[in-house]
């Protein structure tokens, strides 16, 4: 399956990435190759195989509702590119999230 330029622009928008014209070309090519490679799987006949959501184990294990200590805040914020007021500091976002 080959991606169109519009597909690439849509994916970039969803990932909040700004791509140059040259990058759209290059990444579009690379993404298309990956899709084609994985697309090989489509050739398998899975008509009689039930759909499965996970290949790891049959079912999730549940944990009891017991709180444990959280991470020290200094450690948490140490990895942040920027922090202020004991919080992560990010560029301004105005509208509500999804």
């Amino acid at each position: 399956m080959r991606l169109t330029k519009e597909d690439v622009e849509h994916i970039a928008l969803l990932a909040r990435l700004h791509l140059s014209e040259e990058e759209k070309e290059r990444f579009g090519e690379q993404l298309s190759n990956i899709l084609e490679h994985v697309g090989k799987l489509q050739e398998l006949d899975t008509k009689d195989v039930p759909a499965m959501a996970s290949i790891v184990v049959e079912r999730s294990r549940l944990r009891p509702d017991e709180p444990a200590a959280a991470m020290p805040r200094a450690d948490l914020l140490a990895n942040a590119p920027d922090a202020s007021d004991e919080q992560f500091k990010v560029p301004p976002v105005l509208d509500g999230g999804p």
Binding site: L14, R16, D65, R73, Q87, P91, L94
Partner: protein, 487 residues
């Protein structure tokens, strides 16, 4: 809304499942509206790489209680899915939610509307995780946002109704009914102000008689039942005006501005929803034992709807009073315990004192049942005294006021304050005759047809009695003496 269009409204409700720890990690759940930011966060809910989520059993149990109370079909195998989007309150870049195979679906609940009872279909009930909290800051000419992840990963229940509500009243009653159920099954306090329960109506209109669905707008940011009603009314009027002017409703998410009383678009069309759901690879399917689900079903309390029917039948309450009393489990519990403890007072008198004077005091002081300084025994004793004519209504209110502030025993309060009702006919007759003698003009005018003067004379007698006379007996005596005078 004019009679040309029919509102078509569905609700999407998010309710925090008030567990002790988070949905997929053991971080404690803290009140994210107060206190220190980022004190209840770990690598899992901060979205650090390589971390694995593990499902909180209590959250599943809470979700099942709600789903069962809403008469849903439970999917014994349900699947968690990744909902992908980029926004700073979502550290992983995706939210763990449920999509294709939710925990439960196809339920219903009963609500009241102007046309009578309505059965509203529940499309689905699923579990997901909450996001972090953003604060927008403008400081020294710099604009930025701050992220607090205390709320990130807190268990959330999403309840989606079918778009079957056709009036603002139905929307309000459906939201109240859902809140009542959440509180009855003990999973959520129903607090909208703190965002523990969030109600998002999706609204469209269509010409009366049409069965097609119009384009819908979704409203967010409603922090009270009042704003839910205002926003719904506003949006219905906006859509009607737009359509009447030849325009078209666009599908969009609107944010309610409570101060201005208007909505505004939250997201532009270019960033259309495209969440690329796929099964969460870190979480195998959630498989439930049927025996566990049955046990939870059996453990459900009597729900508001059933309790209301029982109250109407057993206590002879009017539908309205029954509704008011069963809306909150604690109120209904207090009511039943009071009826059981009362000796003279009947169920109706107790309902009147509960929903009238007591609710008045509670609303005024912002106190809930749990904060009362007295219980069913004292309320029953007070109602008994009123029913037996030992204290009149005004005195009873005074006793209730004292109970409300200080607690104590109604009979001792009546004694200590000298509130015993005076019904002694000799005493009442003496007061009445004194009042007529000292107000001859009013008595004559009353007899000449100025009926309201009776209230004046009644007031004079009550004043003489220090408010403690039996009002019915005073009226009777007053009328008797006046009519004798007229002959």
């Amino acid at each position: 809304m004019s009679s040309k269009y029919q509102p078509v409204i569905g609700l999407e409700v998010h309710a925090v499942l008030e567990t002790r720890s988070k949905m997929f990690c053991a971080c404690p759940v803290v009140d994210s509206t107060v206190g220190e930011p980022n004190i209840a966060v770990c690598p899992v809910c901060a979205g650090m790489p390589g971390m694995l989520p593990v499902i909180n059993q209590a959250a599943v149990e809470y979700a099942l209680r709600v789903a069962l109370a809403l008469n849903c079909t439970i999917n014994l195998t349900s699947i968690f899915a990744r909902k992908s989007y980029f926004y700073p309150d979502l550290p992983k870049g995706f939210q763990i939610s449920q999509y294709e195979q939710p925990l439960a679906q196809n339920g219903w609940l009963m609500i009241d509307t102007a046309e009578g009872e309505q059965r509203v279909a529940i499309r689905r009930v699923h579990i997901e995780e909450d996001t972090g909290k953003l604060t927008h800051v403008e400081r020294e000419g710099q604009r930025f946002s701050l992220v607090d992840l205390n709320r990130s990963g807190v268990p959330l229940l999403e309840i989606v109704t079918e778009p079957e509500l056709h009036s603002v009243e139905a929307v309000r009653n459906c939201a109240y009914a859902l809140r009542s159920i959440l509180r009855y099954v003990g999973v959520n306090s129903g607090n909208l102000e703190k965002g523990l329960m969030r109600i998002e109506p999706n609204i469209s209109i269509r010409p009366i008689g049409s069965t097609e669905f119009g384009t819908r707008a979704e409203i967010k940011n409603l922090n009270s039942f009042r704003s839910l009603e205002r926003a719904t009314t506003y949006e219905l009027a906006r859509q009607e005006q737009l359509v009447e002017a030849g325009g078209q409703v666009v599908q969009q998410t609107l944010g309610w501005d409570d101060g201005r009383g208007t909505t505004q678009a939250q997201r532009s069309k270019e960033v259309a929803e495209d969440y690329r759901y796929f099964p969460e690879p870190d979480l195998p399917p959630l498989v439930l034992e049927k025996a566990w689900v049955d046990k939870i079903r059996k453990g459900l309390p009597e729900l508001p709807q059933a309790r209301r029917e029982r109250f109407i039948k057993k206590y002879g309450l009017k539908a309205y009073d029954a509704n008011v009393i069963v809306a909150e489990r604690e109120v209904a519990d207090l009511y039943e315990a009071t009826v059981a403890a009362a000796k003279t007072a009947d169920a109706k008198l107790i309902a009147n004192w509960l929903t009238g004077p007591l609710f008045g005091l509670m609303n005024e002081a912002g106190v809930e049942i749990a904060g009362l300084r007295f219980g069913a025994k004292q309320l029953a004793a007070l109602c008994d005294q009123v029913a037996a004519g030992k204290v009149n209504a005004a005195g009873g209110r005074e006793v209730l006021g004292v109970l409300f502030v200080e607690g104590g025993s109604p009979t001792s309060i009546i004694k200590a304050r000298g509130l015993q009702q005076i019904s002694d006919s000799g005493q009442l007759a003496a007061w009445v005759s004194e009042v007529i003698v000292s107000n001859p003009k009013q008595a004559v005018d009353y007899l000449a047809g100025n009926a309201p003067l009776l209230n004046f004379l009644f007031g004079q007698v009550m004043q003489k009695a220090g408010g403690k006379a039996n009002p019915a007996a005073v009226r009777e005596e007053l009328q008797a003496q006046l009519s004798k005078l007229g002959k």
